[in-house]
Symmetry: C2
Subunit: 619 residues, 2 copies
Amino acid sequence: MQFDLDDFKNPCNDRFILSKGHAAPLLYAVWKQLGKISDQELMQLRTFDSNLEGHPASRFPYHEAATGSLGQGLSVGVGMALAARADQLPYKTYVLLGDGELAEGSNWEAAELAHHYKLENVVAIVDINRLGQTGETSTGHDLARYQQKFAAFGWRVLMVDGHDVNALANIFTEAENCDPQNPVPTVILAQTYKGFGLDQTIENQPGFHGKALPKAGLSGILQELTKRFPGFNEPLPEPVILARTCTEQYHATQNASTYCAIESGSESTGPFPVRALRQASPCAKAPEDRQDERGEQDERAYQLGAPIATRRAYGEAITILGAHNPRIVCLDGDVKNSTYSELFEQAFPERFFECFIAEQNMAGMATGLALRGKIPFVSTFAAFLTRACDQIRMAGVGRVPLRLVGSHAGVSIGEDGPSQMGLEDVAFLRTIPESIIFYPCDATSTHACVALMSEHHTGVSYLRTTRAATPVIYPNETEFKIGGCQVLRQSPNDIACVIAAGITVHEALKAYDQLCAQNIFVRVIDCYGIKPLPEEALKKHAHACQGSVITVEDHYRAGGLGEAIAAALINDKIHMTSLAVDKLPRSGKPEELLAYEAIDAEAICRAVLESLRGYRAVT
Amino acid sequence: MQFDLDDFKNPCNDRFILSKGHAAPLLYAVWKQLGKISDQELMQLRTFDSNLEGHPASRFPYHEAATGSLGQGLSVGVGMALAARADQLPYKTYVLLGDGELAEGSNWEAAELAHHYKLENVVAIVDINRLGQTGETSTGHDLARYQQKFAAFGWRVLMVDGHDVNALANIFTEAENCDPQNPVPTVILAQTYKGFGLDQTIENQPGFHGKALPKAGLSGILQELTKRFPGFNEPLPEPVILARTCTEQYHATQNASTYCAIESGSESTGPFPVRALRQASPCAKAPEDRQDERGEQDERAYQLGAPIATRRAYGEAITILGAHNPRIVCLDGDVKNSTYSELFEQAFPERFFECFIAEQNMAGMATGLALRGKIPFVSTFAAFLTRACDQIRMAGVGRVPLRLVGSHAGVSIGEDGPSQMGLEDVAFLRTIPESIIFYPCDATSTHACVALMSEHHTGVSYLRTTRAATPVIYPNETEFKIGGCQVLRQSPNDIACVIAAGITVHEALKAYDQLCAQNIFVRVIDCYGIKPLPEEALKKHAHACQGSVITVEDHYRAGGLGEAIAAALINDKIHMTSLAVDKLPRSGKPEELLAYEAIDAEAICRAVLESLRGYRAVT
């Protein structure tokens, strides 16, 4: 590998992802050998104040990506390799996988994509030690099966004895030199033995996964290893440590190296930067400043009342933003005509990545792209984002600015039925630490939310969009913010506060009109900022409306808007009715389903009238 | 395929899973041809009152499994094939996949498992029409690539022109006859063209996915098809409809067929049963009556105060239950020594299925096993169940009694760090319609919860277990129920009600002791039933404790116990403090992490004292 130890942020550095994150002590030991971690720090492994966590996480300054949930590293690596391709940067991405984790299908999603995009700059290394945590893998040491699989997925396969250092050095050289006429990703299958070099009761035996050997036997073990591997227990010369690092090349290129600032908020700002090694890169496509990201203001001009689906507004917004910020890229899971990300593809085909029907890898790739300074928007049906929950969870652990857009939210999609309805997306995304969530109801607010997401670099963000066309209700100059809400209707005589988001905002407005006709006045709030929740504003409006609140959402009750608001207002002595999806939905017309789940205008009116009766009974 | 149209529940029937669920109209059309759906019903497709939903769901009496989220059918099929093997039943399982959905890695997880278990009774058919929803798949019509992939995963591969009916009939015969010396699963790769038989502006062209052709052109289209396929528009003779159904065999076997009742609550109870066709099965291992499932009562005898992790108690409970109910099976994702499902394996190796590190397929397989009358328990780390959220979601859509057990919940696992901590599992599982959730705090209650799950056949159930050993607090004769809670400490002078679950119950008990020393009395509730929530009991206790409630949970705030309780008590004018995981966790000692997230005994004491100050200030 080639990188500058003193300039970790240098975009020309090779990348190394430890997909088998449980081998973290090995990663830390290497950085100790490289002189970046002290002996003392190393001995603090897994303690509360140490950055050396049980699995590589964002607190470790040299972490390339948070790992520890298996089968995710290759997707992240493919995303990084794609970023290198897009930016014409010379780095290679190395991913070290365990053989056990190859059972995760996400690896084969990544393998197919790396083949599809001809990413010759990815090198996967599989540590085939035969043993998982609890026993032998399904493939054991049958390297031929692994070879056939990777070959079938279009990869170049190299095989090596993983304990032969010279053979490894040679194979890494071979891996680096890919036939330019046939650009394919490379995998190195390394046959290894757990506990190699120890006695026969330990080497290649199950039962030692995650187990420290008894301290009493340490000197004997070190003796045995030293006997078997001369020089084992002596400090290694630095250049040898990271495989084939070539000091000559190092000195030849370091003066010529180019520095490209990566401004992504997710980029480590630790005290350990790096400098470029591989041949100098022109960085022709270096990320531009994002000062004019807001230039889209003039370009969006939605007419009040015009029926435009928020999913379509997302596609339009990202396309306008994309013109002003070349770091924005878009990833699709074969639904671009439904999510309207096809508009972005038409404008910027080179920044649009079709990931096919493989959401896990799509989310992992986006993490890799984000970690290399891109601003990726991942869009698919909200329902199908549940396929990538673990990848999204790990993006949260890694504090990655992963931007997700889930369309076709709620029962309001209608005829396609429950398998296509996103009804748990808000609950899941709300759990991710430091995440932000938007659920706008019209094109204008959607556009603003997408712009806010493009500028939010400190964690996972999520936009929920709707299938149906809904009327534009906001003038173009309306201001929106993270964690905001808008008051759509209010009077001094409001007897209840109806809090809605997305599609139910329009039901709330219909209910308002019906209630007005009966001389009953309610406040209507568009709570487009689901997380963080605009708690203070909601409290204020609740108290201004006789302490009566009605929430209404096209999402399952658990973990949705209603529960979030109940938790926020629990100590405010208010009265609240939450309308949410409680019954397993079915196919039908959108309006039939909104009525079936009691989240339509009529249900809101009923709730207001009941609340009014309760209020009158009390007063 | 061989099955009795008049006995859909017959366990000897072949199974057919439409993994490409969007082809539902085709499935319905076949059942119409079989005389089980009327023309009138067929024309109600996708309407609110029809059972013919946009994608096959549980309301359709002939649905084999709910589909519509792609890439899940093969896992379900592999589970059904495993059930056939276990019960020595002769049926085959056919799964029809689209080529687009082969991008989902879950298929390759299923492919590997089918190879591993030598399931020669699975036949997958891939409809390779080249076109996804939005464009060409990554493989197009390159059948050789698909062939290589399936062969690399150990499958027998057959290729066919998907439009040649005679060739199809022959290939299905070939597929059925597997070499007994080399039992491997079979895949039929069928090359097809979307819109085959229509004119060149439609056939094999993108842009027609999910689009109805204009009604005006219908007669022309029918004419064209009739010209190209003589007899196209005429009723087909029934035996021909489902591929190679052989009437002779039908009559020869139907008298000999054996009926084995499948008692699973998930089994369709629609008016359309079926009878066996393939050779008579002895049904030697027919599901036994579950009258003695409770026989374990005598066998569990935990000593009060003994430190036993709830994950271990799960392993012990399932092993005892397994002895009394042969329908119970167990699935593991290479963590059986952590979840203690290894105890079940040691007792019943033939009913233990190692699924390796592939949680999506594990959940899908369990769905298949459950649909064939097994009682599968799926156990892994709670964190890694997030890998299978989409499969769990679809089990909910299908109303499948999928039983999930997530271990290593919460920050209390300590040193392994955030990637291994299940902190969003309750939020996600709560969203699943009709799901039930248990989070017990000791071995006795865990045992009871596992028994309750084994008897719950009407939907998804979830048990959350803890890594650390916790003392047994319940006598063996204690009664537990779905949606229950237990009062652990109470007095007439309680000034607050502390509601905890799992690990935090023990923190609450510690807090109780510390507060007692200050003459402050609180009620302590073990809310082991998270869903349904014991709302009435919680309300009663809240009001009996000055209306002051403190919830404490080792789970992210969003969608957890605190929010569930806030939503339940919002109209009860109580004061509530919710302690939950708010900060991104890290590695460290369990007690350090509980303190860091402010969910330990000290945090509870602080909350009680603050609530007391607030109360005194008011009164």
